[in-house]
């Protein structure tokens, strides 16, 4: 920031002297011309950054607008100082040339400063991420609580986080209960509950309970630090379209050299030295190679910064260009379109028993089981705020079910435990549930079935919206899963996916991707670890829920830090917009240069107008690219309409 303040002061000073130089000619004082000359010369001198840049870049073999400007200003200053003695019009001309140079220097320096500032602002997203990282932490050391800089925290130490504080490290909660807002990392707006055993991320906000966290990753290693580094790297990776812009800029110097000297030569013979000089200067000033070369990098940085604010890490300009062409998006099912954990979705009762009875007896029998289905039942009981007593004794038979006693009551769970006791009614109920790809768990009390618990993996809340959004963009959606046909069909119908392939082994998933890729650009969305081969074989691999997994973030082309599948559509729409803007900017800058150079060559512009045009061209391109940072996801209603 200090640098920008310095820049602005320099611009203001230059402007003041230039203005004074112009105004003084209207005042009746002694030595008015001399004062005018001195003021203008000071103003021109204050533009030293331009000349330094121009001359040094020439020395290092680059051609820049600053170089042209330096030459142009030098020519006008020399002309201003030398010409009057040879001219009959006297010293008024001297001041004219010099004040023009001063104004030109002012506009260029102001333009440079403004561009620097706008480009710096494209770092905004990164700065936001960086500011998320707390700098100090309270830790327990030798029995006492001390506040230390985060740099000094060691692995395995215990960090104390008060309500309202930011969590300074990645670690595991060892005591306390709270809710944590993880929006900075995963983009989830709803706070997540954290209690003993849960993992925390540095930079997330602890809400209302105190937590003690055991440090597992320190400063440079945290997920947040990792994300920051990836974004920094991604912003530097150029997009292929940059090559088009680079090709133009390579020819810029030779073309300019030929153009400037021919303009001088023609005008000199036709219109005399002074006109030739003015036109040559104008041509040099109006050229704006910068607009061509800066358009793409700023757009890439703006796009990647924007994505990172939406918890999407796009790993470079190449992927932006691939994303814009995506025609098919393939999704893994379990853990991607679905939550990936079985949940009790329905309780069907038999006879006079209630839903609560069914869950209660099932939960008693399953209380000490670690099976995922048992966990779903226990979770349901907790959700219904039941207090579950211990079973008197229980026996888990793997692959079959549970046989338990509670006092003098006998509980049986699982279809295979009760072949002989299932009535026709219950049987029908169960086959209906199973035809939907769900699991039916019958519960029997003293040998008669009291209810059937239906357990299923649930579709993520926003899967349906995610698919709808993609369809709106004209993108085909495909589900590929290792799960059985029935479940696949049921889920596919629920979310309206176009096509599904089930019962696939990992290598068969790859084969499906390769098949889809014939003639299409294919994106694959998966969890990043199990789906690694399919992700690697797609054109753009999206890893989902990547915040917890460094491997997933590292290997994917696009990492979705949270679980929000609608971000797939956002990444694609943003890339389409970004690419159009890059292309538009290159065309615009190209045409701008041609038009401005022609106007200058034919003497329609004067030097001051020329600089204004050149700077306006460059700044509009930079702003247009930088604005990509501000683009926001559209609400579904809008894209549907």
């Amino acid at each position: 920031m200090r640098e920008h303040v310095k820049g602005v002061i320099l611009v203001a000073l230059l402007g003041l002297f230039a203005l004074a130089g112009v105004l003084i000619s209207g005042v009746q004082v002694a030595y008015v011309h001399e004062i005018g000359i001195v003021l203008s010369l000071i103003a021109v001198a204050l533009g030293y950054r331009i000349y330094l840049h121009g001359i040094r870049s020439l020395w290092y073999g680059n051609v820049t607008a600053q170089l042209f400007a330096t030459i142009a200003i030098f020519i006008s200053v020399v002309a201003g100082l030398v010409l009057p003695s040879a001219s009959a019009t006297g010293t008024a001309d001297a001041v004219g040339y010099l004040t023009a140079s001063a104004i030109v220097a002012f506009i260029i320096l102001a333009g440079m400063t403004l561009e620097d500032y706008i480009i710096h602002r494209t770092r905004g997203a990164l700065e936001k991420l960086i500011n998320m990282s707390p700098t100090a932490a309270r830790i327990r050391r030798d029995g006492a609580e001390v506040e230390v800089p985060v740099d000094d925290i060691k692995l395995g130490e215990i960090v104390l986080v008060k309500p309202g504080d930011k969590i300074p490290v990645d670690g595991t909660v060892i005591s306390g209960y709270s809710t944590v807002n993880q929006a900075t990392i995963t983009g989830e707006s709803i706070p997540v509950e954290k209690t003993v055993g849960d993992r925390t991320f540095a930079g997330t906000l602890n809400e209302h309970g105190a937590l003690e966290i055991k440090v597992e990753k320190i400063v440079d290693d945290t997920t947040l630090a990792h994300i920051i580094r990836l974004v920094e790297e991604a912003q530097e990776k150029k997009a292929p379209i940059q090559n088009v812009a680079d090709r133009f800029t390579t020819y810029f110097l030779p073309i300019m050299a030929v153009l400037a000297s021919s303009v001088f030569a023609f005008s000199y013979f036709a219109l005399g030295f002074e006109v030739a000089l003015a036109r040559t200067v104008t041509v040099l000033l109006v050229a704006c190679p910068c607009a061509l070369s800066i358009a793409v990098p700023v757009a890439v940085a703006g796009t990647i910064g924007n994505a990172s604010m939406n918890s999407i890490i796009i790993k470079g300009g190449t992927h932006i260009e691939k994303l814009k062409d995506v025609k098919v998006v393939a999704f893994d099912k379990t853990g991607t379109l679905t939550v990936g954990e079985p949940k009790v979705v329905e309780i069907k009762t038999v006879g006079n028993y209630s839903e609560a009875d069914t869950i209660k007896y099932a939960a008693i029998a399953e209380k000490f089981s670690e099976h995922p289905l048992s966990k779903a039942i226990i979770a349901k009981a907790a959700e219904m705020s039941m207090k579950i007593p211990d079973p008197t004794d229980f026996k888990t038979i793997p692959g079959r079910g549970v046989d338990a006693n509670y006092g003098n009551q006998h509980i049986l769970i699982g279809r295979k435990m009760m072949e002989t006791e299932i009535s026709e009614e219950v049987n029908q109920l169960m086959s209906m549930v199973e035809s939907e790809g769900k699991t039916a768990i019958p519960v029997a009390l003293d040998k008669s079935v009291i209810g059937v618990i239906v357990v299923a993996d649930t579709v993520r809340e926003n899967s349906l919206e995610a698919i709808q959004r993609l369809k709106r963009l004209g993108i085909k959606t495909v589900m590929i899963t290792g799960d059985n046909m029935r479940t696949a069909k049921y889920i596919a119908e629920q979310i309206g996916i176009d096509e599904y392939h089930a019962e696939l082994l990992p290598e068969q998933k790859v084969a499906v991707i390769i098949e889809l890729k014939k003639g299409n650009v294919v994106a694959m969305v998966g969890d990043g670890v199990n789906d690694a081969p399919a992700l690697a074989n797609s054109d753009v691999g999206f890893a989902m829920g990547a915040a917890g997994s460094d491997v997933a973030v590292e290997t994917a082309d696009v990492a979705l830090l949270g679980d929000d599948l609608t971000k797939v559509e956002y990444a694609i729409s943003l890339s389409r917009k970004a690419f159009n803007r890059m292309k538009g900017n290159i065309v615009y800058a190209f045409i701008w240069n041609i038009v401005a150079l022609s106007l200058a060559a034919f003497g329609i512009l004067n030097p001051v107008l020329a600089v204004v045009l050149a700077e306006a061209g460059c700044i509009s391109v930079v702003i247009n690219s930088a604005l990509l940072l501000r683009s926001k996801p559209k609400p579904l209603a809008k894209i549907m309409g």
Binding site: E115, H120, K237, D246, I294
Partner: protein, 85 residues
Amino acid sequence: MNIEKVILSTSKTDSTGCSACAYFKADNLQHALARLKGVSKVKVDKITGNVIIEYGKQKINLSKITERIEKLGYQVEILSRDEIQ
């Protein structure tokens, strides 16, 4: 304190050298390096791409710094290396 001052030259093949581009590059490099733990001073020259960097030797080593620059897509060369404290 072992503070080392190193001058590095960095380059990218696609340098077209306009002032905004140079600023863009220097700004990124400057911030990325300044954030490294142990680095006390960084100055990136906009035009040459040379980096003057000072860091505590106990906290970070030079290869970590050059690795970071390479990861950002630049080629690095060490021009000079002095212990200043």
